[in-house]
């Protein structure tokens, strides 16, 4: 690991960088005046009045579906290494995986039953 040592500089530099960053933020947070006038709060400082809300609202249902999808999608990651060496692992690993998938399914069933999948 001796080539690591010579890169200490970089680590130190990073540390110092992080420190400067933090210090900067801290100082500005200390000294900045805090008087938000409605005009300042305008999204466009040129004074152009903003029409309509700044952020477009999605229905939270989208997020819910996204959540469920992400979880089950990612958990499948575990299937790949298992599938690759399935031959030499044999029955035991198969049972393990069945249990794993059963747990996932249980979760899915729960989400289903609790109406997380219903479009509201």
């Amino acid at each position: 690991m001796e080539q690591i040592g010579s890169y200490t500089t970089i680590f130190i530099a990073l540390g110092v960088g992080v420190f400067c960053l933090a210090a900067g933020i801290f100082v500005s947070w200390l000294v900045r005046p805090m008087n938000p006038t409605p005009l300042k709060m305008e999204p466009y400082e040129c004074g152009e009045p903003a029409i309509g809300p700044a952020r477009v609202k999605f229905r939270t249902s989208f997020y819910l579906f996204a959540l469920v999808f992400v979880i089950f999608d990612v958990e499948v990651v575990f299937l790949f290494p298992w599938a690759v060496v399935f031959q030499d692992l044999g029955l035991f690993a198969f049972i393990e995986m069945v249990i794993f998938i059963f747990i996932l399914l249980l979760g899915l069933a729960y989400a289903w039953r609790k109406g997380a999948l219903r479009w509201r």
């Binding site: 500089t9 540390g15 992080v18 933090a22 933020i25 801290f26």
Partner: protein, 622 residues
């Protein structure tokens, strides 16, 4: 048998827990429960007492409680010797009397259950303190005693002065206790034991010599000064009178305030090992005795008179111990417990009847409150130390102790204190019980449940003295090292003492008894005696002037000490803590960003600290 001693303190504790848990519903039974428990404790204590009269050798039983891998060990155990059994009997007996009395006194108080729970808790801690065989346990119970006394003083918490008095007592004694704690720790550090017997032998074999011994002794004495209300930490006791009167009788006359004396007696070898310490104890005690007596002469509040008298008598005991009069101190503790408790209970009965504390609003009560008056008279005579009442013997012993120690100054001081004592107590008696009944509401004798304890205690304060010699051998035997009892039995000391008492009595008689009848009669009838009367008035004037002067100085001094030193220090510390707390609290601003910032800041600080502590890493930087 010794193995069963733990029952004595456990009974009141059980009573306290039961009453506390029963809450409001247990109101009616509360008194009987706790009194019953303490009654059985008394029985057992008496059994021990009898057993030890036969064979006064000290017995100890203890178990290891906490043992760290170092040789640091905390044991839990009991040490029983004549001193212990005497204290056991005194505490349980007075407590029983007071609780019986309280059933009448607190009859219509809505906080009865709380009251009896507290008082049982106090009794438990006091008994534990007496039984403990090592200083750590002594300290634990010492604090517990302080706590329960605080709770009882502030019992009527809706009265602001009561609450403040409780706080004051708690805080002032804290000062002494801090010294006590440090003393214990120092002791443990050097002798690495807390066991009282081992400490005693260590002290006798000269392991505690020179500066160390003196310092330890004085630190422990600081605790005693706090609890026993010796100058300058006596200021809490008069205020403590805000509590219910039976509480004053039990805690602030008979038992808790005597704990300081008991403590000094308990580790007596530690004190005898250092002459300086003994000297300090003797003179602090002596000074307190006379100082408090002078104040007592001029108080108008009946309970305050008794409070100052208590302070003075405690000073007496300390003085005795300081002069090496172990027996004298302990014996006076005993007799004083009897007659002072009686005085307080009688005073309570009076207050109960006339609903005022001011003696000038009373008068002529003897006719209406025969029993109370008679018993109080007995107690007064005992306190004044008139032969053959108990006070005489113990006071005599103390004076002899001073004589043996060759402290003539203390002897004179003691005799003068005796004079003042008999003056103020008879003044109290005459003003309250004789003369014209000038209190509007007619006083009535208290119910039997209250007078019975009075009479019992009266018998004791009458008869206790005759066993002086018996007790002497008994108590001195407990000193391990068998010290022979030496007085040069000169008749002068008792003579002087008696003259002093007589003089004090006469003084009080002339001023407060004669005056009452003279004003109307004599001036009209015998113009020949007019001069005499004038002369008496003349004395009165001087006396009043003298008193005003003393009062002015003393009270001003006390007030200053109280406000500046005590309150100042305490409030200062508390204020500092609160400020710190408020300041640190402001760090928790509530904004998540700030929290993250703190987190990262901590990370960076750690990094820097690591880099600093590893110069080799720094060295790699070009």
């Amino acid at each position: 048998m010794i193995n069963h001693a733990w029952i004595i303190p456990v009974l009141p504790l059980a009573a306290a827990v039961i009453v506390a848990l029963a809450g409001k519903r247990g109101d009616r039974l509360a008194g009987s429960i706790s009194a019953g428990a303490i009654f059985f404790s008394l029985i057992i204590s008496l059994k021990f007492f009898a057993a030890f009269l036969v064979n006064p050798a000290a017995k100890e039983v203890s178990w290891v409680w906490l043992k760290s891998a170092g040789n640091l060990t905390l044991e839990v155990g009991m040490l029983i010797d004549p001193l212990t059994v005497i204290m056991l009997v005194v505490v349980t007996f007075v407590s029983l009397m007071v609780q019986i009395y309280s059933m009448g006194y607190m009859a219509e108080d809505e906080g009865k259950a709380r009251y009896f729970a507290f008082i049982s808790l106090f009794t438990f801690s006091m008994l534990g303190l007496v039984l403990a065989n090592n200083l750590v346990m002594v300290y634990m119970f010492w604090e517990l005693v302080g706590l329960s006394s605080y709770l009882l003083i502030g019992f009527w918490y809706h009265k602001p002065e009561a609450a403040n008095a409780g706080k004051k007592a708690f805080v002032v004694t804290r000062f002494g206790d801090l010294g006590f704690l440090i003393g214990i720790l120092v002791l443990g550090y050097f002798l690495n034991t807390f066991n009282i017997i081992e400490v005693g032998t260590a002290a006798q074999t000269g392991k505690l010599t020179g500066g160390l011994g003196t310092c330890v002794a004085l630190l422990i004495f600081a605790g005693a000064v706090g609890k026993s209300a010796q100058f300058p930490l006596h200021i809490w006791l008069p205020d403590a009178m805000e509590g219910p009167t039976p509480v004053s009788a039990l805690i602030h006359a008979a038992t808790m305030v005597a704990a300081g004396v008991f403590l000094v007696a308990r580790v007596f070898p530690v004190f005898t090992a250092s002459d300086t310490a003994m000297l300090v104890v003797a003179y602090v005690g002596g000074f307190t005795a006379i100082f408090a007596a002078t104040i007592a002469c001029v108080q108008d509040d009946i309970k305050r008179i008794l409070a100052y008298s208590t302070v003075s008598q405690l000073g007496y005991m300390m003085m005795a111990l300081g002069c090496g009069g172990y027996f004298a101190g302990v014996f006076h503790l005993m007799t004083h417990a009897a007659f002072k408790a009686l005085l307080f209970l009688a005073a309570g009965s009076v207050i109960h009847a006339v609903h005022t504390n001011n003696i000038w609003e009373m008068g002529g009560l003897i006719k209406r409150m025969g029993i109370t008056g008679t018993t109080m008279l007995i107690a007064a005579v005992a306190l004044a130390g008139v032969f053959p009442f108990s006070g005489f013997f113990s006071k005599d012993a103390i004076l002899f102790a001073a004589l043996d120690a060759g402290r003539m100054d203390l002897l004179v001081l003691g005799i003068f204190t005796a004079l003042l004592t008999s003056f103020y107590i008879f003044r109290l008696f005459f003003v309250v019980f004789t003369g014209k009944p000038n209190s509007t509401q007619p006083g009535h004798e208290s119910p039997a449940v209250m007078t019975m304890p009075l009479m019992t205690l009266a018998i004791l304060s009458l008869g206790l003295g005759f066993f002086a010699a018996r007790f002497e051998h008994f108590i001195v035997a407990s000193l391990g090292a068998n010290r022979e009892i030496l007085h040069q039995h000169n008749r002068l000391v008792p003579m002087f003492a008696f003259l002093a008492v007589l003089f004090g009595f006469g003084w009080a008689y002339l001023v407060y008894f004669q005056k009452a009848i003279s004003a109307t009669l004599l001036t009209r009838k015998f113009s020949l005696l007019y001069k005499l009367l004038k002369h008496k008035y003349f004395i009165d004037e001087i006396y009043l002037f003298f008193v005003r002067y003393v009062m002015l100085v003393v009270s001003a001094g006390l007030a200053w000490f109280d406000r500046q030193v005590v309150d100042g220090a305490v409030n200062g510390v508390a204020w500092l803590c609160r400020r710190m707390g408020a300041g640190i609290r402001r760090l928790q601003v509530g904004r998540l960003q700030a929290y993250i910032f703190a987190f990262v800041l901590g990370l960076i600080v750690l990094a820097v600290s690591l880099l600093v502590t590893h110069p080799d890493v720094m060295a790699i930087i070009p």
